[in-house]
Amino acid sequence: MIRELTYSQALREALTEEMERDANIILMGEDIGVYGGVFKVTDGLMAKFGEQRVIETPISESGFVGAAVGLAMCGKRPMAELMFMDFAWVAADQIFNQATKMRQMSGGQVSVPMVIRTQQGGGRGNAAQHSQCLEAHFAHIPGIKIALPATPHDAKGLLKQAFREQDPVVVIEHKLLYNTKGDVPENLAPIPFGVAEIKRSGSDVTIISYSRTLLHALEAADSLAKSGISAEVIDLRTIMPLDMETVVKSVRKTNRAVVAHEAHRNAGFGAELAARITEQCFGWLDAPVERVAALDVPIAYSQPLEAHTLPSPEKIIAAAKKVMYKN
């Protein structure tokens, strides 16, 4: 039976099911209790699981993310919610110097199975301090896993999996995805990390993406089809671990690749992807890997400026045509 859920409903279901399964799961974050979170993802969970397991925190991101590290080292499975990804910097020491390194520094004596849930991205006029995409920063630091679901289905499956990992996981949502809808089967199993999905197959060019930009890529592929270009669209779903196998197989078939994300281009994760693809497909590539990303400028409030800064289906189409040497 097909069952349509929004992205936030799917996330909420994942949280509910996981909390029912594992009494050690605790949610912490700002306004996540009575109000259910500013994006309403945790709506009703405090009523269901009580104030012991759904903790409304003060505005102390270092404090409660760090508390999650302590909880995780002592047998709990905390989830800390960062209302906006941009606030990761307020808690950065606890994420990057603490959560990611405890296992290694202790020679494997402790583990930190915690989940950070957050949302990122622009498109809503939230301006420079509330619109950034920071997955590359997480990718650069070993010790954490990174999921970026693009669909309600994957949001549920990946979030469920996040609670079964042995390490810190950041689940990065996108503010403009919460109201998107999609099929989510009743008994969806957790989706293993490190398994990309070919969301559309094609033969001329491979478009590699994740999170909201994946939707742009699919839209671009539709358009491209009309111009006779067959694009294969790969959704990485997690970038750590990274499923290069699927990517390489596709690029060796299409001989052309476009990577697309909403983070800034300079030192973005697209650079890593482009570098790896080139390393592993050098003899196969008919054109250099094209990168589609946000311009390297802070995200402006004004609608036309913001739209100009962020990636779009059109920019992906242009990139695909470029690697095809067409206009």
């Binding site: 003060p58 301006a127 420079a128 301090q129």
Partner: protein, 306 residues
Amino acid sequence: MHLAREFERRCEALFQQGLVRGSLHMCIGQEATAAGAALALRDDDLLITNYRGHGHALAKGISPRAAMAEMLGKVTGCCKGKGGSMHWTDVSKGILPANAIVGGGFPTIVGATLAAKMDKLDRVGVLFFGDGATNQGTAHEAMNLAAIWKVPSIFICENNLYSEMTPISKTTPNKDLAERALAYRIPAVIVDGNDVEAMNDAVCNAVQRGRRGDGPTFIEAKTYRTVGHMIGDSQIYRPKDEVELWRTERDPITLCASKLLTRGVTAAELSAIEHDVTAILDDAVQFAKESPYPELDEVFEDVYGK
């Protein structure tokens, strides 16, 4: 106060029309903190406010035209449309960029007032922040710095009992946040933030301390926002009669107006103010609507200096 309130009412309407974007955080019910403080300040005194800072900036003298154009993302806006509601700036009026990171402005005001002290200017710097912001580490680091460096920072905490949708009782064991400042031996006072005169007195004292070189002051202004945290806030987290009480009996504009009436200001004079405000805002909205958006290449400007 009236200007701030009506300005935000216009913004609310423009938001519903889709012309104002992002999140809109209104200060309705809290206007007296801004007005009381601004009256104690000179143009060259500094102000750093936050995402709920329209009232503060308008009181400090930002142009309603430039502010409204900013709300619509126009090139004539005070930040050329780049900052929007949360980052209003007007350096000519001492208004440094407003900050949308809770607690983010604390260190900055300390640095800004340290610069003033080093330059032997007698200007002070005011930081506005909420009750919730006192739970951020930066608040503490910065208050300690302000104390040891004896800078003329004036920390004004608008304690409106909620940080977003969470009541203060859940986030701190303190009822009075002034206690937090005492930990750094910063003099702290508690005032009725809905009483514009009390507010003004407290800030005047702090300004004098600052100008004299006596260092920072912490002012806890007890107040309340009678609207949601942002547009769309269902306000299920607080009792309706609590809101009603503050909206009717404790409204700073009404309180001020009644006081003025008892002191001989006429009703006609008061409604003249209302008319002025209407004219100013009609003009500002028209100006904003008629102004162009920035050119697209403008995104590459103001990232690095030239």
